[in-house]
Symmetry: C2
Subunit: 492 residues, 2 copies
């Protein structure tokens, strides 16, 4: 390994950027704002996808695929949605290049190949999907329609950050249609819970479930439910959203159904999504100054075995043991890499697997051969211990479970420490300027106050949490009556 | 079900189009040339993806993800590749919309948001990937680099057909880098075999492996290997290609590596891909006038159980048996749908599952309850038989295996019947105008002759098959000496 990472405590942002590169997760491409997701980073995304996809199917959804392009006339049909994305979209205007007569070997856009109607590269697919649902939905028998799409989307971002905010990103978007408002609301809520369970059970990332304030709502939604996580620098990350769309898209695209009595009614809708941004959240929740720390349930490699040897003969003996242990672990579904690459020294390998967040590292040296032991190191606590080779697979299986639990516990403890109540404006600003984190505070419910707070502190309302006791009070900013607390934080 | 399909023998093209719609596989979207892949069609694609992905990983490849946009300067770097795709690409020129001052509620492209450099929506990713590989490859230790990407691509097609030729389609593209020419050639060949095995073992679609003639080569390749299948209308379908790219992209993007002696050398490359076009091939290989016929290994549903009953009491009794049989089959990994929807009649359901190509349909009526039997119908042969309920899961498992084998055998027999040798020009044109299919014939190896044959017969060289005996002769068109036979056909 080259030299280490910047310390989180000194420059969290530089630490993040360098970690993403050194752990081989992603890099900037030659296309402004677009990233290359490298194989190790993509393997984490594949693991996330597989689990989420199963959860979507278990909750009755089917996958489908809709076009990447949205004709301008469809794009602008739902006005608020269009307004929300119009300023940051990639627009296809031509369909052909031709040889540039002035520059040999170069190409230019062929002005004769101008599209009659411009195409927007989808920033989200409500418009294209609801223009399709119009054909699919006639009767109450066609409902509910529960569809998910795995896709790439493009939002023209001026300031980008790998995984957290990129011009193109990968995501899934669910788009459902229902006969009644209550069914659509139930779906919206259900998917928020699916996301929250995934975040906690697999990413070991605790989240707060809540409702967005009006100004933070998805463009075109009646309500946005979200899950919010807290990063190690005290900033919040919106990790997933689930939108109750009311009848907005049904009206914009004239999607009606005949109810059981033959009456024509507009359809109710939800949409919900999570993206490669989750990888950013995963990194910033668990990782340390030595590199990535991955929860076992999402790690592409669970265990790395490193032989410590001099000469081929010793290596051969160690390899025999290592391959036996590897086979035992693999039989239990543990993903093991035995790294007998002779071109690298053990110290280099140790640092490499630390940087890549492999949950368990096993070292086997000559003394281990004599004693029937191995050295087992946990990535989360950095603890090492010598274990007997007997029943090692069972012990490692148990250890991986412990690591998964420990990461969640640690993240929960951190979040608890960094979630505070502010009773006054002074407390509020001191918390935000000082330790950071989530700050619960009374808010008068107006956009005006929300905006002022944002201007003065850079903190936004992350959500109005569902899970809090009902309590009235006075707004910390305006002093006006408040019906409940909102959760504030500076955010990504 | 509504009325049936056109007959294949009368209008193959209309039969295909209607089948794709009625079997709920895909439909045209509101975006010219782009398709919506519906849930049932997408489920087939997911099955294909899962199997191919596993095969790619077993052969040492990793997945990654690269940007959808290619800046024009990168796009044009490999001249032949650029020339091949320049005439059919979608071009992003602007990154913002604004309110149209002349039309309330409408948007227009913001002329102030013109990109300095246009972006091409990837028609294929060699350019963007090789510009990245330049950063990833320094030494022979970085080689081979074996990467695959699952992605959407866009080629601006004027005449489109669902699955077979659409403006946007889904595919995978492998892009590998090697230290030596022989390694790159070996990879190119290996992936052709992976595709061929997939086509035969899973799609039950036999293919001919061979080399493309120069004029049919991928733009930027030194050689294109392909697999060619024969459809039921006697036309050929290129089902997958694997390209030996030589050092063309390495030179265009200046990708060199230091060999073990420290000498700088250009890297050798391959690329290979299959797409949603495979679904078109699957349809046209097996399906019949009643609808889709699917090989069990790719079918989203293996078995549909339809109860035949009068009244709730009878339904309850049948459901008890059906659910028991369903559970037994599921325990063997068989995917079963028990369709007790009371809104549809059994006849409608029979036609529906026939249209959707479900390999096995089981009907259970009151007499079956008395006799401990069920009626089992095979989709491939349309045969029905009455079977005892005892050990039904084992019998159905066996039947699914038989169906898989029968579909391949049938397709092979068809292809054999429709593969003929033409010794003379007369024979050649008679075969192509008459029964169609593959025609093997001597060819003088010149592009000129190939072009003339195409003009006069509409047949193209599908490939020069690898698996044929070496034999010299005279070109059927020019009479000039020929070193071997080429495989001709009219093609999709």
């Amino acid at each position: 390994m080259a030299k280490g990472l910047p310390k989180r405590s000194e420059d969290f942002s530089a630490w993040y950027n360098e970690l993403v590169g050194k752990a081989d997760l992603a890099e900037h491409s030659g296309v402004k704002g677009c990233m290359v997701v490298k194989p190790y980073g993509y393997a984490i995304w594949e693991n996330m996808k597989a689990i989420l996809d199963q959860k979507f199917k278990e909750t009755g959804h089917q996958n489908a695929y809709f076009p990447i392009f949205v004709p301008k006339s469809l794009f602008e049909a739902e006005e608020k949605n269009a307004e929300g994305f119009a300023k940051e979209c990639a627009i296809v205007t031509h369909y052909r290049l031709k040889n540039d007569p002035d520059k040999k070997g170069k190409l230019m856009v062929d002005p004769d190949a101008k599209l009659q109607e411009e195409l927007i590269v989808r920033p989200t697919s409500e418009a294209i999907i609801w223009s399709t649902y119009k054909k699919w939905i006639q009767s109450y028998r066609d409902l509910p329609l529960l569809i998910n799409q795995w896709a790439n989307v493009v939002r023209w971002e001026m300031r980008t950050r790998l995984f957290l905010r990129t011009t193109e990103f990968l995501w899934q978007e669910g788009h459902t249609a229902h006969a009644t408002k209550s069914e659509a609301l139930e779906e919206t809520e259900k998917m928020m819970h699916v996301y929250a369970d995934f975040a906690e059970d697999y990413m070991a990332m605790p989240v707060i479930k809540g409702l967005k304030s009006e100004s933070e709502r998805f463009a075109g939604a009646e309500d946005t439910y979200c899950i919010e996580a807290l990063m190690q620098d005290g900033k919040a990350l919106q990790a997933g959203t689930s939108h109750f769309l009311g009848q907005n898209f049904a009206k914009a695209f004239d999607v009606k159904f005949a109810d059981s009595e033959g009456k024509q009614k507009y359809v109710w809708a939800s949409s919900w999504g999570v993206s490669t941004r989750l990888i950013g959240g995963l990194i910033m929740t668990h990782s340390d100054d030595l590199g990535l720390v991955l929860p076992p349930k999402l790690a592409p490699i669970h265990v790395a075995i490193v032989p410590i040897y001099k000469g081929d003969e010793q290596l051969a003996k160690i390899s025999e043991v290592a391959n036996k242990l590897k086979a035992d672990m693999q039989a239990k579904g543990i993903i093991v890499k035995y790294d007998d690459d002779d071109k690298r020294k053990p110290g280099w390998k140790f640092a490499e697997y630390e940087m890549k967040g492999v949950p368990v590292r096993i070292a086997i040296g000559p003394r281990d051969l004599e004693n029937g032991t191995v050295e087992v190191a946990r990535r989360d606590t950095l603890e090492k211990e010598s274990l007997q080779q007997v029943d090692l697979a069972i012990k490692v299986e148990h250890l991986l479970e412990q690591i998964q639990i420990n990461l969640l516990d640690r993240a929960k403890a951190y979040r608890e420490e960094f979630t505070n109540v502010a009773a006054t404006w002074n407390e509020f600003t001191e918390l935000l300027d000082g330790k950071g984190g989530f700050v619960q505070a009374h808010w008068d419910g107006t956009e005006e106050t929300e905006q002022k707070i944002k201007e003065e502190t850079k903190a936004t309302i992350r959500c109005i949490p569902f899970d809090q006791k009902e309590e009235t009070g006075s707004c910390i900013y305006s002093g006006k009556p408040s019906k409940g607390m909102a959760l504030f934080a500076k955010a990504y």
